[in-house]
């Protein structure tokens, strides 16, 4: 998804773009994502600024591509089960408002108006109209098509070509070299491996997320609904399972419940404790789901960096190399803003927001390019 957005905005900046992927379109984490475009879960700071920019760009793409990418500006609803959690949530929302987020407190008695099937007894919530939804695989495929970029699916990058002076001039693939004055690393969870091919260090790690998908239902869940402890979970450094699922209805009918966040490496095998936690969390929010059937579950690997911010922009250690990866569970949502920033960096334009917090080389303590 991030690569597709980079391709779109780079092409629209007048560049000739080629997209290389070892698999098919959306074959990595994109195809295992939920398509959450969230501002609600982000605290004031660089990620929220990127999310707000991205949300604006997604809305533009929604006007342009609309139903083809299943863009739905449905809004988010964060609920709190106790007065204590509610107070913390309201404080959090107040901070977000000063950063430009629309966050409307909702009293307990008004919750049923927004979500008629929500469990009774909630202390209250906050409504975030800027939260939205896309179908990630369709979005990636449609953005790539809209970009007009030439696609090279099924091409594995085996090396990054660097001149004697260190300048990057293309990539080597298992099916031949592709020359270009700029290479964008949008390899997601595998972005660290690609950086290593260029001889630079980018400590991207996988975090497993399971998603549960139910049978198709008439629209019964209207927003993206989740419990307030999710906000704390995103920044969690705990290796243990922490789940507070986002529950949402989709245009196609099924309810999506996700995602878990576990640090278990690249293990794709089914985790019954993970799906148990998802199901229990979802039923806690919407009791009617108890009798609804899960049709499938899938896992994806969210790429994260130690400070939980993505790496975006030029890499001074390898001139010509740009990074756009490490978005953790927010890669779909942050893709558009990332693509815009990368396109601006590629064409030497002033970036729309301060890119300093996303500097790819920020994890180097010695400043060198040794891995």
């Amino acid at each position: 998804m991030v690569g597709a957005a980079c391709a779109l905005y780079a092409a629209r900046s007048g560049l000739d773009v080629r997209v290389v992927d070892r698999g098919p379109v959306a074959g990595g984490t994109t195809g295992a994502g939920e398509g959450n475009l969230l501002v609600s879960d982000k605290e004031p700071g660089p990620e929220l600024r990127l999310a707000l920019l991205s949300a604006r760009l997604w809305a533009e793409l929604g006007d342009e591509l609309g139903a083809a990418i299943e863009y739905e500006p449905k809004g988010g609803l964060v609920v709190a089960s106790t007065p204590g959690v509610l107070a913390a949530l309201r404080d959090f929302a107040a901070g977000q408002r000063t950063a430009g987020v629309t966050a409307e407190p909702v009293d307990a008695d008004r919750l049923p108006e927004l979500e008629p099937h929500l469990a009774p007894g909630m202390a209250g919530g906050v409504h975030y109209p800027q939260d939205a939804q896309v179908m990630p695989a369709l979005a990636a495929a449609r953005l790539l098509r809209a970009s007009g970029a030439r696609l090279h699916p099924g091409h594995t990058v085996t090396g990054v070509l660097r001149a004697a002076d260190g300048t990057v001039y293309g990539v080597r693939t298992d099916r031949g070299d592709i020359h270009a004055p700029a290479v964008v690393n949008a390899a997601g969870t595998w972005g660290g491996d690609l950086a290593a091919l260029a001889g630079v260090r980018l400590p991207v790690l996988p975090r497993r997320g399971f998603v549960l998908v139910t049978e198709p239902l008439p629209r019964t869940v209207r927003h993206k609904v989740y419990a307030a402890d999710y906000v704390a979970d995103v920044a969690s450094d705990s290796a243990a399972l922490r789940t507070s699922p986002v529950v949402e209805g989709t245009a196609a009918g099924p309810v999506l419940i996700g995602a878990t966040r576990e640090r278990v490496g690249f293990d794709r095998s089914l985790s019954l404790p993970a799906v148990r936690a998802l199901a229990a969390g979802a039923i806690g929010l919407f009791p009617f789901l108890e009798r609804v059937r899960a049709l499938r579950t899938y896992a994806g690997f969210r790429p994260y960096l130690p400070d939980h911010l993505p790496a975006i922009g030029p890499d001074p250690r390898a001139p010509g190399l740009f990074h756009a990866c490490g978005h953790e569970g927010a890669g779909i949502g942050l893709a558009t803003g990332t693509g815009r920033l990368v396109a601006q960096a590629l064409t030497g334009k002033t970036p729309e927001l301060d890119p300093a917090p996303f500097r790819p080389e920020r994890f180097d303590t010695d400043g060198g390019d040794a891995r």
């Binding site: 379109v25 959306a26 195809g31 695989a137 098509r145 095998s269 089914l270 148990r276």
Partner: protein, 500 residues
């Protein structure tokens, strides 16, 4: 270990029954878990007792083999060596590699809303196969059924699905289905088989090594002749017609290159079309356990072991080959599991006869597979507007669009971009058609949930890797999500175990 080891056998068709009997005879406590109300699987499907069928054997071949299996099952159940759990629909088998313990998760009850888990030291997957049906215009009309579905109705319910039937597609199932329909009183207007008689002859050496099978085939053919059924070889269904339900089908002759011969189109009035294009193995449970596949089937060694310790597989799940092959494989798997569970290596010489039968029948299956290939060119002929994925109502045109212009190159991406295979059946029905339409290789889809599971059952799972309760080691089966009674394994003296 003083306690005898416990083997869970999933599936009570020919392979599962043979395996359960072989293991139980050698001192293993077997829990036989099956979705049907009675043992037998699809091959030995029984009419519900309430229907009071007087001569169910009229619809069955190899009735004596079945009677032996059933007598063995009854004997071992009475002796407490086999616990037969009927109406248990397995949705997942979870493994704890460290403890060497498996949790077999099933749904039961009339609405399949009760979760139960079976504890086992080893698992034998005899999950069978399912039918491949390739789409054509009109295939979603009421009155169009799968060949296997028609057979199941005949064997299980003794209900005649219609009055005038056409049987079409390809594969060895079509003959008995047509014969069964005719014997049950339907008028079978035609049997349209897309394989040609010449192709059958080319496989003569392998077929000739199978006198039993040939006799079986000859028996079906004689039955068809007796009922005056027209058998059309190298012929395919072009379309099914009707407004509210099936009224007629158009069939046409296939040229050697797979194209339809002009002028050969013929319209046949009928109210039932039974159509099938062979079978595919059920591999969901094996895949989730991490077992390697070979093509679309579970890969096994000479002892029917998968590459996951403690997991065996037998029957159609390891490759489509029919009931006789399933019996041989199940027998070998059950003996191997019994020996391995006691910590000894089995002696293959003890199952030499079953081993020889397995070799012969696998060769036969490979020969059949070569004869009964889906008709060439069917995918190119399919009009864009024909629905391919019935659950999500995705048309052939939409499936093609996932490849061009959207750039999908494998089944998973086609699914993501077109929704084909995302519905109730999770692509079991449409995946072969989608593969054919898009030119993507047919790969087994990852389906960690082998069937739809109520969220309430998932939420009530014990918080362990296998989903087994922490306590209750001695129980063969525990309810999940209810605090009600737990079912213990019947305690009975099974006598001294027979050794290999």
């Amino acid at each position: 270990m003083t306690e005898r080891p416990r083997l869970a056998v999933v599936g009570a068709g020919p392979a599962g029954l043979a395996a359960a009997l072989a293991a139980a005879e050698r001192g293993v406590r077997v829990t036989l878990v099956d979705a049907a109300e009675q043992a037998g699987g699809q091959f030995y499907r029984q009419p519900a007792a309430a229907l009071g069928a007087r001569r169910p054997q009229a619809l069955h071949h190899q009735w004596r083999t079945w009677e032996r299996l059933r007598a063995g099952l009854d004997r071992h159940r009475a002796a407490g060596r086999i616990l037969h759990l009927t109406d248990h629909h397995v949705w997942c088998v979870a493994r704890d590699p460290a403890a060497g313990v498996f949790g077999v998760h099933a749904l039961r009850g009339p609405a399949q809303e009760e979760g139960v888990v079976v504890r086992a030291d080893a698992v034998l997957l005899a999950t069978g196969g399912y039918e491949r049906v390739l789409p054509f215009p009109g295939w979603t009309l009421p009155g169009v059924v799968t060949a296997g579905g028609a057979q199941a109705m005949l064997k299980g319910g003794l209900v005649l699905p219609g009055r005038t039937a056409v049987v079409a597609g390809t594969g060895p199932l079509l003959l008995p289905v047509a014969g069964g329909l005719a014997a049950a009183g339907a008028r079978v207007a035609a049997l349209a088989e897309s394989a040609g008689p010449a192709a059958l002859l080319r496989q003569a050496p392998a077929l000739a090594a199978q006198p039993g099978k040939l006799a079986e085939g000859a028996g079906y053919a004689a039955r068809l002749l007796r009922h005056g059924v027209r058998v059309l070889t190298r012929c395919t269904v072009v379309a099914a017609h009707g407004t509210d339900r099936l009224e007629a089908v158009t069939v046409a002759a296939l040229d050697r290159d797979g194209s339809l011969r002009p002028g050969s189109y013929r319209r046949i009035r009928c109210d039932t079309l039974a159509v099938g294009h062979g079978m595919l193995p059920h591999t969901d449970l094996a895949e989730t356990l991490g077992c390697s596949l070979s093509g679309t089937a579970v890969r096994v060694d000479d002892e029917q072991r998968t590459d996951v310790p403690g997991v065996w597989a037998a029957g159609e799940a390891t490759g489509i080959g029919g009931a006789a092959l399933a019996l041989a494989e199940g027998h070998i798997a059950g003996r191997s599991a019994a020996a391995r569970l006691r910590g000894t290596a089995p002696d293959p010489r003890r199952w030499a006869a079953a081993g020889r039968a397995r070799t012969r029948l696998r060769e036969f299956a490979a020969a059949l597979d070569a004869v009964y290939a889906p008709p060439a060119g069917w995918a190119e002929r399919l009009p864009d507007e024909t629905v391919v994925c019935r659950c999500e109502e995705v048309t052939a045109g939409e499936v093609r669009g996932a490849v061009d212009p959207l750039g999908a190159g494998d089944l998973r991406t086609v699914k993501l971009l077109s929704r084909a295979g995302m519905g109730w059946c999770q692509g079991r029905m449409c995946a072969p058609a989608v593969a054919g339409l898009t030119g993507c290789p047919l790969t087994a889809g990852r389906r960690p949930l082998a069937r739809p599971v109520p969220l309430g059952v998932l939420a009530a799972l014990p918080d362990t890797d296998t989903g087994l309760p922490e306590t209750g080691d001695d129980l063969a089966e525990a309810e999940v999500g209810r605090t009600a009674a737990e079912v213990g394994h019947p305690v009975a003296d099974a006598g001294p175990p027979e050794t290999d």
